[in-house]
Symmetry: C2
Subunit: 245 residues, 2 copies
DNA sequence: TGCTGACATATTGTCCGACAATATGTCAAT
DNA sequence: ATTGACATATTGTCGGACAATATGTCAGCA
């Protein structure tokens, strides 16, 4: 049987998508740098040869990813997407894929010890100080579950930041949104404040001493504690994390 | 000195953002499931009490992240963001942060061996077959640099998929966009086809045998080869990856 | 001088109404 | 059963309009 020619679809892109791609490209290629102002909507409309409404749609397309933002809630400005923006979009995706706590935990086991290890190499004195402050604060709020969770999340963020690896920082962004909040249930159920503090303390010591293996090892231990907590509390280790976002 | 009351800013959100949040929430909370159609723009406009233009902006805000898409390039449909959508948005972020190849490599060292390890536990026969096919293909195209790179990327995607961990799949999405393409330069410079194949073969064997340690170990070896290749070819291990996106 | 207020200006947020292009559904004709 | 004609629904794009708000300017006043 003679197959008729397959032309494939006539990839006709709507104008707002073309415009958004053009802007995106200009930004990523470095033609426009972070912090710079974009032309006004009217100007863009004129340049693209479309109406302002279309330009606006093109802009919105990029805004949610964090590439564009408002400087003074007026003019558009090119921004570097922070961990929040990335975390938000990736965790929406994970939520829709019904990611289980176990799956997140496995990813965390891949990334968090790595963060600890790298922090040993790159942490500055200022960052070590921030970690020390965090330990103090953690001890203070040990009884307050919400504050404890916040301190806990903070600690891991500080470690990640001390790794001075932006790729890692962004890759682990969704953990902040999904993994650690789920941990809140464990804290309320088991009050493992002391155990958390011990682990953090060891990680901190290792970072100060520049002892990579120890940092990695204690981060792993810490993560295993997470897992044990969820299992002990029977909090649905193999069930999808639900989004409180 | 008596501090005057601090009211904080009057967080006035534009309507298109409110609308987008409302839709996003409905989707994430499961009120609307993936695959379902959204009401028409006119309906949404009526429900929200705004004009269609505003609704359209709200929709665009979500479209780029992959939560919304076109079913038949007409009606809006709720979609699960795939690795492409996530990869695209996260890698834009990484590019703007001037992520270096070294940083990406470190993340890959955290995730790829993990993927190999998990694949040992979860790979189905069909997935093993796909891996086997990939090995055959890799051997065939060993001389063709572009095709080889494609096969290489494919292999790692297949392994990741065999891990049956969506969180991992999404977390490593940016690697596909930035890390492996950079590897293309190495292939052209050093033609390490044979070395790649050997590593892949060992990973494949380990997965078939269910030998987690071996899979992990060979993935690590493979990654170290990457790094060595970049260093040997003097291809800018510590320089920002440039986006060809 | 330094602060305040009035005013013009630029830019975004929102609205309205309109039309073309395209996918869908229906029904008659072949 | 396939085709063609036609009405319908929905999106893509247009153009113009106005309100709200941030910025800049400048005179007035202590």
């Amino acid at each position: 049987m003679a197959q008729p020619v397959n032309f494939g679809p006539l990839a006709h892109q709507p104008a707002y998508r073309l415009g958004s791609e053009k802007i995106r490209h200009a930004i990523i290629s470095g033609e426009i740098e972070a912090g710079e102002l974009l032309p006004t909507e009217t100007d863009l409309a004129e340049q693209f040869g479309v109406t302002r409404s279309t330009v606006r749609e093109a802009i919105r397309l990029l805004e949610h990813v964090g590439i564009l933002g408002r400087a003074d809630r007026k003019r558009l400005v090119v921004t570097r997407p922070g961990t929040e923006a990335v975390g938000r979009s990736v965790s929406s995706a994970m939520l829709m894929h019904q990611v289980t706590f176990e799956e997140l935990w496995q990813v965390a086991m891949g990334l968090e010890p790595l963060a600890g290890k790298l922090a040993c190499l790159s942490a500055t004195d200022a960052e070590k100080q921030l970690l020390a402050d965090n330990l103090v604060r953690t001890r203070e709020v040990m009884a307050d579950h919400d504050a404890l969770l916040e301190a806990e999340i903070d600690f891991h963020n500080l470690v990640a930041q001390a790794s001075h690896n932006s790729a890692l920082l962004l890759a682990r962004a969704p953990l902040n949104e999904l993994f650690y909040p789920a941990w809140g249930a464990v804290i309320r159920a088991l009050s493992p404040g002391e155990r958390i503090l011990v682990a953090h303390q060891h990680v901190y010591d290792a970072i100060c001493a520049g002892d990579q293996e120890k940092a990695e090892e204690w981060m792993e231990k810490h993560m295993r504690d997470f897992r044990r907590g969820i299992e002990l509390g029977n909090l649905g280790f193999d069930k999808p994390v639900r989004g409180q976002v």
